[in-house]
């Protein structure tokens, strides 16, 4: 039986094959480890590597296929993505643009009680969701760690690892009690694995939740800071608690409440409706 692969060593081999200079490790996600590399003196890129398993390979392929069809300033650029073999083992290797502005998780304090910044962030990411929608893609994992910045102003949606392609067969088993995604930022239909209800409005919920949290400084479904309770409330399809709704209204962000509605039919139907609502308030 093979032990866990030495991904740093694999990264060095990949860099050698692709003629990159390995600069440093950036961090790890659920499956992938990311490295900062340079293709030349002025071009820095993010190299991501993951061991391939039978269950993960279709997801990697789907992510690559989904991202390769996208071209939007608020969607991370994918330069290359493929399986590579080293020492008889297969690894998934992707090369993406390097976003050096950090994550929203790191910068969330900049948006605290700053409704104009929140609206601007919301509008640019809603435009990205529209870009995905017309391609029948649902990101399904919108959270502060997956929103990065290309510059001070340009937010970018990253990590399409569990992207759902609506007109392709599902990769999630129907019998699973919960669909993939980060529960803390997931809509009820995702938490309950109600696949027929998943569409761009599922991402709308996640985005609104991230925006609301950034604006008021706590998870909108847990004004008492009890995060498991927040997930339970969303799964029970409860409305946003009154204390959070009041805070959002005070900041002129009441329009987010519709995006946080428990059922997709009650949310904004089109991304442009959300963008308009954010602008109007």
């Amino acid at each position: 039986m093979q032990g866990p692969p030495d991904l740093a060593a694999i990264a060095a081999l990949v860099c050698k094959q692709l003629d990159f200079t390995l600069v440093k490790e950036l961090g790890s996600g659920a499956h992938k480890r990311a490295y900062l590399v340079e293709s030349d003196a002025s071009t820095r890129l993010a190299l991501k590597i993951a061991p391939v398993t039978a269950s993960l390979k279709p997801r990697f392929e789907r992510e690559a296929s989904a991202l390769s069809g996208c071209s939007h300033p608020s969607v991370a650029v994918l330069h290359d993505s493929r399986a590579m073999a080293f020492d008889g083992r297969e690894f998934w290797v992707s090369v993406e643009e390097f976003l050096d502005g950090g994550t929203l998780a790191e910068r969330q304090s900049l948006f605290f009680q700053n409704p104009s910044a929140v609206k601007k962030l919301g509008a640019s990411l809603a435009a990205a969701l529209d870009h995905l929608r017309v391609r029948s893609l649902v990101h399904r994992d919108i959270k502060p760690a997956n929103v990065m910045f290309r510059s001070e102003d340009q937010a970018v949606l990253t990590d399409f690892g569990i992207v759902r392609v609506l007109d392709a067969p599902t990769l999630t088993h129907d019998f699973m009690p919960q669909g993939p995604g980060t529960p803390l930022y997931a809509a009820a239909e995702q938490l309950l694995n109600e696949k027929a209800l998943i569409d761009w409005r599922t991402d709308q919920f996640g985005l609104a939740l991230v925006l609301a949290e950034s604006a008021i400084g706590f998870h909108p479904f847990a004004p008492e800071k009890d995060l498991p309770l927040a997930v339970a409330r969303v799964a029970r399809r409860e409305p946003v608690p009154a204390a959070s709704a009041r805070k959002l209204a005070e900041l002129g962000l009441a329009s987010l409440l519709q995006a946080l509605a428990p059922w997709p039919a009650l949310r904004y139907r089109r991304p442009q409706d959300l963008i308009n609502a954010l602008a109007v308030v």
């Binding site: 209800l197 059922w263 039919a265 139907r269």
Partner: protein
């Protein structure tokens, strides 16, 4: 004005009639007419035709082996009975043929294919959306997403929201809603929770930006308009003898079609003997009825002549006239469903107070309170 005349057997002669000209559109019925007849009849409607939304309902949901003229239409394949209709790929060809037929006959709108499923699951509603999108990709005509909703299902907690969420996933924003139940002939719907569910579904769809046409409506169109339905279709009027034209199935043949009087105060249909009874008791005010509906006058004249004259043709027209005028008045907010039903309840109380026993036993007005209560949810 957003009432649609749902075509049935031999109803073309009603379209051009002066008092019935203000319908917004026609719902064509392939079960009743083949494409050649439809083309010919539509041509005869000029110049009125240009003002009408000509909606082709492909009627894939028509059950049983007796499909009438459906077999003359290319979109209904010969292997329909044995095909795997759950395979969305199979429907691609059906949609292509349906689109071509719609263009050929000059339809301005097409309702998407829908079948009556064994189980009304989220997968089914997902399927109807996918099918509508297939059709939208094949035609330049305006597409309506056809959905058949079983009334008994939508009183369950969360059912309305779940169905509405799936139906509003698409950018197709016109919905052809068929409400399906097993209410027997000669009965109106009285399940308050199911009716409240239907009202809630219509409200939610309209609020989400969909424009709903409730197909096969009858007197219950009062409810659908109160819920905000953009449009209502009359139901096939030949079903009137079944007392529930809201249901879409044709009656099995074998009996003669009975004439019915549409009573706009009791909100019911009355047989001739009951019309005579209520006229005698003064519960029907003949003068008022004639003033509000020109076809009521024709019926009353026929009754006065006492020659056993068949007045089916006037009964049909009286209903269509009521449907169209009432829909317009509701749309313009000149009247409200609550007022109409409240008045009907008082009239039924008067029927009871006078001890009148209608010959049609099922015709007891019990649905009026059920409908009023459904509005409270």
């Amino acid at each position: 004005m957003s009432a649609y005349h749902q075509m049935g057997h031999d109803s073309w002669n009603l379209i051009g009639e002066e008092a019935l000209r203000s319908f917004k559109g026609l719902v064509l019925s392939p079960v009743n007419d083949g494409p050649a007849v439809v083309v010919e009849k539509l041509a005869s409607l000029d110049p009125l035709r240009s003002q009408l939304d000509i909606l082709l309902d492909p009627q894939f949901y028509k059950p049983g082996s007796d499909r009438g003229s459906l077999q003359e239409w290319a979109h209904i394949p010969r292997d329909f009975g044995t095909a795997d209709v759950s395979d969305i790929g199979w429907w691609g060809e059906r949609c292509r043929l349906l689109a071509a037929e719609a263009e050929q006959i000059g339809a301005t709108s097409v309702a998407s294919p829908a079948v009556i499923p064994r189980a009304f699951t989220p997968d089914y509603y997902d399927w109807v959306v996918n099918c509508a999108e297939l059709l939208a990709g094949a035609t330049r005509a305006s597409v309506l997403l056809t959905v058949i909703v079983r009334l008994s299902d939508i009183s369950e907690l969360g059912a309305v929201e779940r169905i509405a969420s799936i139906l509003t996933r698409t950018q197709i924003d016109r919905i052809y809603l068929v409400l399906y139940d097993d209410v027997p002939p000669r009965s109106q719907r009285t399940d308050v929770e199911a009716l409240a569910g239907a009202l809630s579904l219509i409200r939610m769809l309209e609020k989400a930006g969909s424009r709903v046409i409730v197909a096969f409506s009858g007197l219950d169109m009062l409810l659908w308009k109160e819920a905000g339905a953009t449009a209502v279709a009359t139901g096939k009027f030949f079903n009137l003898r079944r007392f529930v034209p809201g249901r879409w199935e044709d009656p099995s043949e074998g009996g003669r079609v009975l004439p019915y009087w549409t009573d706009d105060e009791l909100i019911t249909w009355l047989r001739e003997d009951d019309v005579r009874l209520l006229l005698r008791l003064g519960i029907i005010d003949g003068q008022r009825a004639s003033g509000s509906n020109p076809y009521s006058q024709e019926i009353l004249s026929a009754l006065e002549r006492r020659g056993g004259e068949a007045w089916v043709r006037w009964g049909w027209r009286q209903y269509l006239y009521w449907f169209n005028e009432c829909e317009a008045a509701l749309d313009a907010k000149k009247v409200s469903t609550r007022d109409i039903l409240g008045r009907a309840d008082r009239h039924w109380s008067e029927v009871e107070r006078r001890g009148a026993l209608l010959f049609e036993r099922a015709n007891n007005g019990e649905w009026i309170r059920a409908w009023l209560n459904a509005l409270l949810f």
